[in-house]
Symmetry: none
Subunit: 252 residues, 2 copies
DNA sequence: AATTGCCAACTGGTCGGACCAGTTTTTTCG
DNA sequence: CGAAAAAACTGGTCCGACCAGTTGGCAATT
């Protein structure tokens, strides 16, 4: 390992062990570089590494601060590169929706063909829950409905792929629910679309199911796109919200 | 945001969007710095950030390499349960083909819309190689052609998903090549289909490209199904065929 | 005295060049 | 031809300078 790696390691220890609280300021680059006996360039590389890991935040002219990370928020594997890419690159949302359009259409079609009675039961249950739940509740019911359909496709590959995208999918569903549901007419459109998908699958109409599902995903994408173009901030779903502004230090 | 942040962003984009596979080498620091118009110091800071996020790995004297992305969908290597399932249950082949039908259709469509001149060049190169190679050679050229198209879709999610299925995909392509190519008329059909896909993408006809691609995958599936129903043993493909180190076979 | 305005001293951000240290390729010579 | 030496890569580290935001205090003005 190079020196910069070692420095980033020592810095992290310093922060974690040293009891530096989130939001707390760490010494200036020049100070740290001198104290640790390395050049400022190397020190900066180490800082960038910690930055990449989300350990610190840096603000021009102010300094670097310990980020407020709860290391055990293992809820979703936030820190995965893809996850981060998604959070940082809004376009990725639409990329995902493009893929979902195909995959969910496929799943709905296969579900219409292959769903067993137990599958139908599960789908129905998820659908009911979707109807009854508060519109603004979290995205779980919505996702559950889609999930039930996917599993009814009886295609292990499809299930596996969609499962691999689950976390990101949850985010897009969350985004769509948060942004679209508040709009009265949109919520109705989405509900109608869900109903169409549901009925097509139950009626065993593969083509109709596929069309309904792809149309639904496309509708969500188009809607969010148009919302976004109207200036609405669509994608702002912070992975681990709150980010302790630097000025949170208590008055001395 | 500072320049180094922007650089790391662009780099990340370059890596995932460009479909750079894990393990692949990225250009040297001096090259990248020049190409992106920044100093080497800043370029290195950006690299360290990606390093901190686990996107790349760096080795002294050798270079920087794309790290294996995310464990979720990626890496269906041999010992994977799904891989095993596949070997044991031929039907999984058709499941995969079902999914491929959608995904490759999507990829071809997007490629027809978004391929850059460099993408076109790569696709053309892969296509040429596909025409010239011996029909019975391994499946690499065939897969390379499809891969080039997928990467031209400029949808990181799509690239990621297909990449995760790469190993299994290689097997299906291998299976199709081994079983279908020996049949004169089938080989011609497949070649014609490849040509249709190629021309549609080059001509920038998204719909035609999608249709050609889905039709192609469907044809492969249907053909193998019919072959199988005639009593041919279709799936007998050993799992660890190639993938061996450069020092191949070695028959003493 | 209170306010305003400005300047100096922080902070991080960027640059270029130089040199060291591994790795790979090319050249040279036995 | 083959092995050793040299050159041409690669990343790793350092220095010194300068740019760009931020902050606080000092001084001139009101």
């Amino acid at each position: 390992m190079g020196i910069s790696q070692e420095i980033s390691y020592r810095l992290e220890r310093l922060i974690l062990d040293g009891g530096l609280a989130p939001g707390q300021k760490i010494p200036s680059e020049r100070q740290l570089a001198t104290r640790l006996g390395v050049s400022r360039a190397i020190l900066r590389e180490a800082l960038h590494e910690l930055q990449g890991r989300g350990v610190i935040e840096t603000h021009h002219g102010k300094g670097s601060f310990v980020a407020s990370i709860v290391p055990s928020t293992a809820d979703l594997d936030d820190r995965s590169p893809l996850m981060h890419l998604f959070a940082g690159h809004p376009r990725t949302l639409y990329d995902l929706l493009e893929v979902r359009e195909q995959l969910e259409g496929q799943a709905a079609m296969l579900a219409a063909q292959r769903a067993t009675s137990m599958d139908r039961h599960r789908i129905t249950k998820a659908f009911r829950m979707l109807e009854s739940t508060d519109p603004m509740s979290n995205a779980k019911p919505d996702h559950g409905f889609h999930q039930a359909i996917v599993e009814a496709s009886h295609n292990p590959i499809l299930v596996h792929v969609l499962n691999g995208l689950k976390n990101m999918m949850l985010l897009t569903v969350q985004a769509s629910v948060a942004n679209l549901n508040p709009r009265e007419e949109m919520r109705h459109s989405i509900m109608r679309q869900h109903k169409q998908i549901y009925q097509a699958i139950m009626a065993g109409k593969p083509t109709a199911a596929r069309k309904a599902a792809t149309a639904h995903v496309r509708f969500v994408g188009d809607s969010m796109r148009s919302l976004e173009s109207q200036g609405a901030k669509v994608i702002r779903i912070s992975l681990n919200s709150e980010a302790a502004a630097p000025g949170t230090s208590a008055s001395p």
